[in-house]
């Protein structure tokens, strides 16, 4: 049980860590000052959530690993984030589309987790879901604004959706770890969130005048650790560099 719970918590934490890293790459480079502030704020929330999820993961594992140990001292094969969050930022539209596709799932997931039978999970979810409600409102509004904006912004947002949609399916994959979580009443079956997610996407993409692809092909492997994109290794190289170069130092 604790091995499955550890796995589940790494999935939750690694999504936040890797997406937080990606979003933080924007710092100082956004199209407008308000967006710089909003992106930094989103990244900050995600890093805060990472500390909670990975902190609990280390506790559950019981081997004395801290959130920092998990973030900075695991290699790619031990990361459990979905592929969507490790994809490069692309242009601002691609970044916000990725954010919306993730936020819409995260809000549903966290709302369900507030009812978790594991009180420490419910507690994290209650805190995070408030932040994420704001994230999804903002990323959804931006997708709508740019989708239903100029001809150029519309074309860029459609291209972003076409590029990223094949990475959505992985969020709803279910395996033995998920079944163990469902059985223990800790987390919902990911598949059970899909209908509400599809409805949310249909509403936002409709307002954004964007067309959801028909093809539901899904790239996967990140959350099980079977397969990542080549991008993850580069993220880790950058993120873990100081900890790796000066082992045992305190910062």
């Amino acid at each position: 049980m604790s091995a499955d719970l550890f796995e589940f918590l790494c999935r939750m934490g690694d999504n936040c860590l890797i997406l937080g890293h990606r979003v933080s790459e924007w710092c100082g480079h956004a199209p407008v000052l308000e967006e710089d502030i909003a992106l930094a704020n989103t990244a900050l929330d995600l890093i805060g959530q990472t500390q909670l999820w990975l902190g609990l993961a280390g506790e559950v594992e019981g081997k004395g690993r801290s959130a920092d140990d998990l973030a900075f001292l695991r290699d790619a094969w031990d990361f459990r984030n979905v592929l969507l969050v490790e994809l490069p930022n692309g242009d601002f539209g691609q970044t916000l589309m990725r954010q919306f596709l993730f936020d819409a799932w995260q809000e549903l997931m966290l709302s369900a987790l507030t009812q978790s039978s594991e009180p420490r999970v419910a507690e994290i979810a209650q805190k995070a879901v408030k932040e994420v409600a704001y994230h999804v409102e903002r990323s959804g509004d931006t997708v709508i604004g740019l989708g239903d904006g100029s001809a150029e912004s519309h074309a860029r947002m459609q291209a972003a959706l076409d590029l990223l949609y094949p990475y959505v399916g992985e969020l709803f994959e279910s395996d033995a770890v998920d079944q163990a979580m469902v059985k223990a009443g800790i987390a919902p079956d990911p598949e059970s969130l899909r209908a509400a997610y599809d409805a949310k996407l249909a509403q936002v993409m409709g307002e954004a005048t964007l067309t959801l692809p028909d093809d539901r092909f899904a790239h996967k492997g990140g959350r099980t650790g079977r397969m990542h994109t080549e991008h993850l290794g580069h993220i880790l190289t950058e993120m873990q560099w100081l900890q790796r170069a000066y082992p045992g130092a305190s910062w």
């Binding site: 860590l17 890293h21 933080s24 790459e25 710092c27 100082g28 480079h29 956004a30 199209p31 407008v32 000052l33 308000e34 967006e35 710089d36 502030i37 930094a40 704020n41 990244a43 900050l44 890093i47 805060g48 990472t50 500390q51 990975l54 959130a67 920092d68 973030a71 900075f72 242009d91 601002f92 539209g93 931006t142 709508i144 604004g145 740019l146 239903d148 904006g149 100029s150 150029e152 912004s153 519309h154 860029r156 950058e238 993120m239 560099w241 100081l242 900890q243 000066y246 045992g248 130092a249 305190s250 910062w251």
Partner: protein, 330 residues
Amino acid sequence: MYAQMVKSTGEGVKSREEMSPEEAVFQDRIDADVKIEPKDWMPEGYRKTLIRQIGQHAHSEIVGQLPEGNWITRAPTLERKAILLAKVQDEAGHGLYLYCAAETLGVTRDDLTEQLLSGKMKYSSIFNYPTLTWADIGAVGWLVDGAAIMNQVPLQRTSFGPYSRAMIRICKEESFHQRQGYDIMMKMAKGTEAQKRMAQDALNRFWYPSLMMFGPSDKDSVHSAQSLAWKIKIDTNDELRQKFVDQTVPQAEYLGLTVPDENLKWNEEKGGYDFSEPDWAEFFDVVKGNGPCNKDRLEARIKAWDEGAWVRDGLLAHAEKRAARKVAAE
């Protein structure tokens, strides 16, 4: 302190006899510490000098995101990463308050941005130095924010209301920035041999550029005399630099680090340290555009602006469509 060598009218301070009746009333208000508000009458020189100064300060906050942003993805712990993100987010927020303050003087944020990108307006010379190691993030917080606070605390009393109020908000956040910088230095200075070396190296590289932040001596400057009379500037550059050195040297000693100045010595008589002047030729080179990072910094801002054009246009187009739909529905 993110405003250096801000030009004033260039004509020096007018005597009472030379002032028009309006100018005399204006000066009386300043002398009585009554705040000037955007709708009040003000001399054109006052308005222009303030736009230059507030604009330069705002640009410095924005460009200042870059050297620190350089380390966000490499911060050594999750907590350090979160703190640094919060700090850089604050800087962007400071830029926003300051642009808003400048806008009350009749200039738009877009105008100011274009002047930054064309090189017509400057930002603080300090942000043209690179952040090479993690200790530099500590040094930036400790020294650069420390120097900024030294200048900004008195500016809370500046004569222009919106600027003064922006400075009050900014100062609250800056003191947190300086503390986090010093905290990083503390960890490094008490850490492994490699960390100690990093900390000393960061102090070596940031000491003189930090002293330059106050600008060259301005005791004979006509610009400064006018700005002081208008209370746009509260202290002279030399006074602020002296205060900064006096405050910082004991902090370096506490860290066990050596300030890279052989002439540094306590002067009992003046109640402050004697210290070496920075290399002003280097300062003028940096201001002219020849610092280690001038090109990179400006290119990064130009790229962000140019590549963001479609986003700004797209969101504007959307806002117009919505407004039109609302009108059509009514």
